[in-house]
Symmetry: C2
Subunit: 201 residues, 2 copies
């Protein structure tokens, strides 16, 4: 006994989504079966439009509507600072702070030997070419504070330093206690970083 | 700062999926952006085919490829027994047991006042019409052992009895300990049911 083919096909597709198991995939499909066919058509149309409406910016490699993207082509942005992020998704929260006026560069991931992602899978060569243009004075490495993010940051710092651009500063977003945290409940690594990277008042 | 429209549109659609929050919806869309456009086209096509390939069986109201469905039109099935299930999804596990040879009836849900699902939202009238045909000798209520399932079962039993078909037996799938359970760790309600509905050996 199997579901009708059109149901099973869709379950098989949703099962491939990140962190979705067969039961959740089933729930998705039955949720869609309960909706109006026109709503499901809308979803199908949104999927068909996805790749057409989101292209890679040739400058920063972020998914954008235009290439170069709105940020890269904004003359009011400070082109002397480049924030290196793993993924286009990191753009939104950094932009939301309203504090950052520099440009971005999307690496396309973080070095992760377990998932088979070596440095050659990331846009490191493009980043070095971009830095070699000479306009950047500071590279902010804005990767995740995880083992993968840290080792990618170290790898990048070494590669960037090998360009021997003397005026270039390489920085990393700060590690410390998040706002609203409770020192008593902070883990050792976080609190260790907070002590080590203390700021002068 | 927002994602390109085609990305945001799709995030907005996935957010409506059951138990999917904005961050998971984002992960889905970036997972799809990382896939080949043709794979995303396949998913869109599977969505477009969903409603066309899954119609409601006019007899049992299950989603099926034909109406009447393969089970309802199978003359080897025992038409004197009807299992009432909440959802087409319950069909697969019951069929997988290989033990049940009767027919089904899909109620379309369970009474759930919190979600605003009253008896009028379920196919209760159709079920009573079906039973009134007189072929059924036993109705097995195979709903979930939850508050919603129990109250729906009681409601159904009352409605079916009001038809005053004297030969009709109404039963309910058994409550008790699941196979492999440990009595020490069973919850009170489950163990209470297991004692109350004990079977003669």
């Amino acid at each position: 006994m199997r579901f009708p083919k059109s149901i099973q096909n869709l379950i098989d597709q949703f099962v491939q989504f990140p962190s979705i198991g067969p039961k959740t995939a089933e729930r998705f499909v039955f949720y869609l079966l309960g909706k109006d066919p026109s709503a499901v058509e809308n979803l199908a149309d949104a999927l068909k439009a996805l790749h057409k409406g989101a292209i890679l910016c040739s400058r920063c490699l972020a998914f954008a509507e235009t290439s170069p993207c709105a940020i890269c082509s904004d003359s009011k942005r400070d082109s002397s600072i480049i924030a290196v992020i793993a993924d286009t998704r990191a753009l939104i929260p950094i932009e939301s702070t309203g504090d950052y006026k520099g440009l971005y560069f999307v690496l396309g991931g973080e070095i992760n030997p377990i998932d088979g992602i070596g440095p050659e899978r990331l846009a490191i060569k493009q980043l070095l070419d971009r830095i070699s243009e000479g306009t950047a004075k500071e590279i902010i490495i804005a990767l995740n504070p995880t083992i993968e993010g840290e080792s990618t940051a170290l790898y990048l710092a070494k590669a960037i330093r090998s360009l021997q651009i003397s005026v270039l500063k390489i920085s990393r977003i700060a590690r410390g206690l998040p706002m609203g945290a409770d020192i008593e409940y902070a883990d050792e690594a976080t609190l260790g970083n907070a002590m080590k990277y203390r700021n002068e008042l």
